[in-house]
């Protein structure tokens, strides 16, 4: 994610927390990004330099009115039009989501395992992860038979690797180094 999108996201997050309306703002931004992604016409109008900024704004105003968008999000869209940054709305949305998660003390965890985990295993694992990170963990699960056994957890840029594959790799490295 680029540095620019992170700045816009941080600013919007500031406003969202001030207005104490974070959930609605989050939803509206994601809806607008969705609309932009689905309609290539809208995308083209906003990206076209021959369309005046005022015309773009009036288009955006009509759409946001119809969608019942929060004022702050509408203003935010206007600001993006002024700055010619409508092309990175999707990126900003992603940055905004992770920024909101960070401020709410939530981390995303990608949990990979060789076999499907049972519900009790999952809850145990999440409890353990929450203890280690000190944050609330939102888990995503995936299956990866290459691990042979055990699990790996990826949180941000940290990997907790307790798979059989890793143990075997390390054992091989240790034996080879002798």
């Amino acid at each position: 994610m680029s540095a620019i999108s992170q700045r816009y996201a941080a600013a919007l997050a500031d406003v969202a927390f001030e207005r104490k309306d974070a959930a609605k703002i989050r939803q509206d931004l994601s809806d607008f990004a969705q609309a932009l992604a689905e309609s290539s016409n809208l995308c083209n109008v906003l990206a076209n330099p021959s369309v005046s900024i005022d015309a773009k704004k009036s288009v955006a105003a009509k759409i946001t009115e119809k969608m019942g968008t929060h004022t702050e999000v509408r203003n935010f869209v206007f600001l993006l039009i002024d700055h010619g940054r409508t092309g990175i709305v999707h990126e900003i949305r992603q940055s905004f989501e992770s920024e909101m998660n960070r401020r709410a003390g939530i981390v995303d965890a990608l949990i990979a395992s060789a076999h499907e985990l049972s519900a009790s295993e999952k809850s145990q694992l999440i409890q353990a992860l929450e203890r280690v990170t000190g944050k609330k963990v939102h888990a995503q699960y995936e299956l990866n038979p290459e691990l042979i056994g055990g699990t790996t957890v990826r949180i941000g840029s940290t990997i907790y690797n307790a798979s059989v594959r890793e143990q075997l790799d390390r054992l091989r490295a240790e034996l080879e180094s002798q």
């Binding site: 540095a3 941000g156 840029s157 940290t158 990997i159 034996l175």
Partner: protein
């Protein structure tokens, strides 16, 4: 070597497997965004340290140099052609370091400390980071012991002390490396450990240097660190820092070492390449803004340590290659201002046969005078004066006008002293002999010898004194000063020798009468 039985190996491996500790690996990773020209940009690695080693797939190592808001710029060491976009990069949590210690002496290594000779792995597991802060002011003391280069012109007029930084500067093919080799060879049997760091040189040249050192028995007190021209710029960039880290080990253990960086112009070019690829803004001659700091932080690590810290020393002899004698280019001026003096070599002098081609007029040593032995200081004072006057007069004498007797005498003395300071390669002289030779020159003993015979005179004088007046050399070596008694003895010895010195089939005295 005792043979190992098959079941023993099995046993060892079985023990290892049984005692294998099951621990969860916690890794911090990032992924490669882009790679090319020895540079990789990486997303992730939130907590990476500046200068940290990173491990890439295929056993490639990288160093994190640029920490930016959303990516990390790294330089890659080794074969980076197999790295591709999306590869996982792991933190190692280690700052770049090299092995140090006595085991390195006599070895040829690359900038990572891996051996390049066929003498097996480097023993010992002591390591030291390649980038370290230089010792502070309280930790140092002024230089007071000499580095004897064995070259008359340098030891007498441009003395180098232990802990000093003396620049060797000159065009290509002026004998810069020759001075270094002579200095290393002259340390045979001494306590000075020499570290030769070749940066961006041809492999054939480096091989030649190593062969010369080996043949002359100088590898026993030397380490060669080499990053040749075919290696990535990153290797060339870290090479002098690695050599310095190896030298610091000796400095911090109360021993003496000297680092030769051959040469820092190539090093600056390698750093420029890396910096431009990392998109740092270019400055003068496209070098990055911190190229001065790059060299000053390297050379500042040369120091004479205080008594409390063992009194060890690390000297530095960096080399700069100029283009057509241009010392006002960016890198030469930088390094001149960092070092404590420079030895300036000129191709004109080299071509008219003055070898070593040292221009004594603009070569200086700002601190080494304190380190000279007293006897050398006594004879070299008048040598420097005589040579300065000679240079001034020589400029006038070129017009060919008639000269008075005093001027002619001065010119004659100058020519003979110039002749006396010539020296063949790989013929380093002991300091006692140097003192004796210069004593003869400055006291007028060669004034009546034909200029073309001066070098033969000098050579025969040494062997004459060695066989007939050995006590003089011994006394010079022991007391390191010339008192009235010794002065009289030296005069007598030289007078004695002149009686037997033959030019044109006659002795000098017979020719005069």
């Amino acid at each position: 070597m005792a043979t190992i039985k098959a079941d023993e190996i099995t046993k060892i491996i079985r023990e290892q497997i049984e005692n294998y500790q099951q621990v969860m690996a916690v890794e911090e990773v990032g992924s490669v965004i882009s790679v090319g020209d020895g540079i990789a940009r990486i997303h992730g690695l939130d907590k990476v340290m500046a200068g940290e080693m990173l491990s890439f797939p295929h056993e490639v190592v990288g160093i994190a140099l640029n920490l930016e808001e959303d990516q990390v710029g790294t330089v890659l060491l080794g074969d980076y052609t197999k790295i591709k976009e999306g590869d996982t990069v792991q933190r190692t949590k280690n700052i770049m370091s090299v092995p140090v210690g006595d085991a390195l002496i006599g070895r040829v290594v690359n900038p990572l400390g891996q051996p390049l000779d066929d003498k097996g792995p480097i023993a010992g597991d002591q390591r030291s980071p390649i980038e370290r802060l230089a010792p502070g002011v309280i930790d140092r003391q002024p230089v007071r012991e000499p580095v004897q280069t064995g070259i008359k012109a340098i030891d007498s007029m441009i003395p180098i002390g232990r802990g000093q930084r003396e620049l060797i500067i000159g065009d290509r093919q002026t004998g810069k490396t020759a001075i270094i080799l002579d200095t290393i060879i002259n340390q045979r049997g001494g306590d000075l450990i020499c570290i030769y760091c070749a940066i961006g040189q041809k492999r054939s040249t480096v091989a030649q240097v190593i062969k010369t050192l080996t043949d002359s028995g100088a590898m026993e007190h030397s380490i060669v660190v080499t990053a040749s021209a075919s290696e990535p710029a990153t290797m060339q960039y870290i090479a002098p820092f690695a050599a310095c880290a190896m030298g610091e080990f000796f400095r911090d253990n109360g021993k003496h070492a000297i680092c030769f960086y051959d040469d820092l112009s190539k090093h600056a070019q390698a750093y420029r390449e890396i910096s431009l690829l990392l998109r740092r803004p270019p400055g003068r001659e496209a070098y990055p803004g911190d190229v001065f700091f790059l060299h000053s932080r390297l050379l500042e690590r040369a120091a004479k340590m205080s008594k409390d810290l063992g009194g060890g020393s690390l000297s530095a002899l960096p080399v700069i290659e100029t283009q057509a004698g241009d010392v006002s280019a960016y890198i030469p001026t930088n390094v001149i201002s960092i070092t404590d003096g420079q030895i300036y070599l000129e191709s004109d002098l080299f071509n008219i046969g003055i070898r070593p081609a040292i221009n004594a007029g603009i070569s200086v040593s700002r601190v080494g005078g304190n380190a000279q032995i007293k006897a050398m200081r006594q004879v070299a004072g008048s040598l420097r004066l005589d040579m300065a006057q000679f240079r001034e007069l020589a400029a006038f004498a070129q017009f060919g006008s008639e000269l008075d007797k005093a001027t002619q005498a001065q010119l004659g003395r100058g020519r003979r002293l110039t002749e006396l300071l010539k020296q063949d390669q790989f013929q380093p002289l002991s300091v006692e002999k140097q003192v004796l030779g210069i004593f003869a020159g400055t006291n007028g003993y060669v004034d009546d010898i034909p200029v073309e015979d001066v070098r033969r005179f000098e050579k025969e004088l040494y062997s004459f004194v060695e066989t007939n007046y050995g006590a003089i050399l011994k006394k010079l070596a022991d007391t390191k000063a010339i008192d009235d008694g010794l002065r009289a003895e030296m005069k007598k010895a030289i007078d004695d020798f002149k009686k037997s010195f033959v030019t044109d089939g006659k002795t000098v005295e017979a020719a005069a009468s």
